[in-house]
Symmetry: C4
Subunit: 195 residues, 4 copies
C-alpha cells in the first residue's frame, strides 16, 4: 500500500522531469533547416539525460520491487534522490546551450554525482531495513558499478576544465555501463521466488 | 505488478506530453479576436498532434493489455517510443508557428515516422517474448496498417519540400487510418477469454 | 483493469492542466507589493478555472465509478473532453491578462461550453453502453443542470461583447451550481449497493 | 477505490508542483561559473520549498492512510489544500528572484500559512467523518505542531518587513519542526492494527 504510493509519486516526478527537459529544446523562429543547427548540442544533451533518467527509473523500479516496508528514512532518501534528479533538466539545458563548455559540463557531472550518491544512500537504507539476508545486498554485492561511476564522475568533473570532450565521453561511458538493466537484482529475485 | 508500473509511467509521460504541447499556444498580447488569427495554424497542428498522441495512448493500452512479462528489452523499447513521442510538441510547435512550411512539415513527418518505427520495435519484442501463439501476433497479422503508415510518412516527408499541402493531407490521412481503435487485438482477446 | 488506466490517464491530464495553469501567473520583476496588482485579474481567473477543473475532476470521478466496460467510443469521448479542458489554461490566461475584455471573456465561455458538450457526449455514451436500467441515466434524470449550464454559457458568450461583468457573473454562477458534488449519482449508487 | 483516486490525483498535482518549481531556475546565458551566482537565492528558496512540499506529501500520505470514506467535503478540502500548494512555485520564484526582499518573503509566508490552514481544515473534516474514536484525532492530539506553525508563520510574515532574515529563519525552523515524519499517526496505527 504505502510502497505503491511511493512508486507512483516517484514515477510521476521522473515522468515530469523527463518531459519538461524537452522544453529546453525551444522552437526556433526561422523556418529553414539551418535554424535547427544550433539546437544540435541541446538535442544531444537531451538524449544523454533522457537515457540517464531512463536508467534511474529502471533501476529504481527494480530496487523498490524488493522493498517490503517503507520507513520514514526511506521516504526522505527517496525525495533526496528526486531532488537531484529534478536538477538534471537545468544542468542539461545549460550544458547544451553552451555547446559543452567547461563550467556547464562540470556542473552536469556534479548533479549526476549527487544523484548517484543519493541513490546509494537510498540503497543502503533499504538494505539496512531488510536486515541480514537482504535481497538487495546480495544483488548488488560489492556494487562495483556504483563505485566506479562515482570515480568516473569525479574524473569527468575535473577534466571538464581542460579536456571537455573526455568529460563528455565519460558521461556517455557511465550511461552505457548502466544501460544494461540491473540484472543482478532480477537474477537474485528469480532464484528466491518462482514467478 | 511490473506491468502496472510500466503502464503508469507511460501514461504519465504521454499525459504530460499531450498537455505541455498546449503551452506552444502562447497567450497573445492583444485583446481583439484578430490577435487569435496567427494562432490558427498552431491550433490546428495541436489538434492533429493531440489525435496522434491519443491514438498512441489507445493502441499502447491495447498492446500492453496482452503482455504477460516485462523484460528489460521491452522496458527500453518502451522508453525509446516515449523518447520520440516527447519530440512531438517541439515538431508541432515548429510546424504550427511557421504555417506548415517545408522543413518543419518534413521534420514533423520524421518524428512521426521514428515514433512509428519505435512502436513496431516494441510490438516485435512483445511478440518475441510471447513465443509461438502470441496474441499480439495473431491480432496484428501482416500489420498492413503499420507498414502503410511508414510508407505514407516517407511520401509526406519527401513531398513537404514541393507540395506541402499533400504532405499535411497525408498526416491527416494516417491519423484517420488509426483513429479506429485497434479492434484486431480486442477481437482476438475477446475470442480467447470470456469477459 | 481497463477502467483504471482510463481513470489514471484522465487524472494525470487534469492534474497537469490544473497545475500548468499557474504558470500563467508570471513572477513579476519588481519586489514591491504594487507589482502584484496587475496580476490580480490573472489570479482571480486562475481561481475560477481551478474550481471548474475541480468540478470536472469530481464529477468525472463519480461518473466513471459507475462504468463497467470501457468501449472505444468512450475512450475517444473521454479524450475529446480532455482536449477541451486542455484549452482552459490558454483561455484563462488570455482573459486574465486582458482584465476580462470582451473577446477573451467570450472565448472562455466557448471553451467551457465545448467542455460541457464533450462531457454530455461522454455521459450519453456511458448511458448507452449500460443499456436499460443505466445507473447514470437514473442518476442524472432530465439533467437540468447540464442543460441550464449550456444555456447560461451561451448567454454569457453573447453578453461578453456588451456587458462583460454579466458574462463573468454567469461563469461564477455556473461554477456555484456545480460546486455541490453530483449527489444524484452518489444517492442512486448508495441505494443500489450497500457500502 | 475512491480513496485511491484521491491519493493518485493529489500525488500527481504535488509531483507536478514540485517539478515545475525548478523551471524558475532559468538556464543562464553565459557559460561561466559566475553566471550561476545570481541564481543562488533562487536555488536556496527552491530547496526550502522542495522540503515543504515533501513534508506535505509525506504527512498527507500518512493522514489519508487512516481515512476510510471520502466524502464530498473531504474531496473539496483536499482540492483547497492543493490550490494553496499550487501557489508555492510562484511565491518561491518571486522570493528567490528578489533575494528575499520584504514583500516577497511576506507573501511566501502567507501562502504557507494558507496551505497550513487548508491542511487543518482537511484534518478536521477527516476527524469529523471518523466520528468518536477517530484514529487521526488520537494521533494528532492537541496538534501543538500545527498551532505553533501557524503562530510562527504569522510572526514571520510580520517580521518580513523589518527583519527579513528572522522571517526566513522562521520558515526554515518550521520546516525542521515537520521534517520528522508524523510518527504520531504511525504510532497509533501500529498499536491499532498488527502489520
Amino acid at each position: 500500500m504505502k510502497k505503491n504510493r511511493l512508486e507512483g509519486f516517484s514515477d510521476g516526478v521522473i515522468a515530469i522531469i523527463i518531459t519538461i527537459m524537452v522544453l529546453e529544446l525551444k522552437v526556433p523562429h526561422g523556418e529553414d533547416i539551418e535554424t535547427l543547427m544550433p539546437l544540435i548540442p541541446v538535442f544531444l544533451s537531451y538524449v544523454l539525460s533522457f537515457v540517464y533518467l531512463g536508467i534511474y527509473w529502471n533501476n529504481h523500479h527494480h530496487m523498490l520491487h524488493a522493498v517490503q516496508t517503507v520507513t520514514g528514512a526511506i521516504l526522505w532518501a527517496n525525495l533526496h534522490l528526486l531532488f537531484w534528479l529534478s536538477l538534471v533538466p537545468f544542468a542539461t539545458g545549460w550544458m547544451g546551450e553552451n555547446h559543452f563548455a567547461a563550467a556547464p559540463s562540470a556542473l552536469y557531472g556534479v548533479v549526476l554525482l549527487m544523484a548517484g550518491v543519493a541513490y546509494l544512500i537510498l540503497q543502503q537504507l533499504i538494505i539496512a531495513s531488510q536486515g541480514p539476508g537482504s535481497i538487495i545486498k546480495e544483488a548488488v554485492g560489492g556494487d562495483w558499478k556504483g563505485k566506479l561511476s562515482a570515480v568516473l564522475y569525479v574524473v569527468a568533473i575535473l577534466s571538464a576544465f581542460r579536456w571537455r570532450w573526455i568529460s563528455l565521453g565519460l558521461y556517455v561511458l557511465v550511461a552505457l555501463l548502466w544501460l544494461i538493466p540491473d540484472r543482478r537484482i532480477e537474477k537474485v529475485l528469480r532464484s528466491e521466488a518462482p514467478g
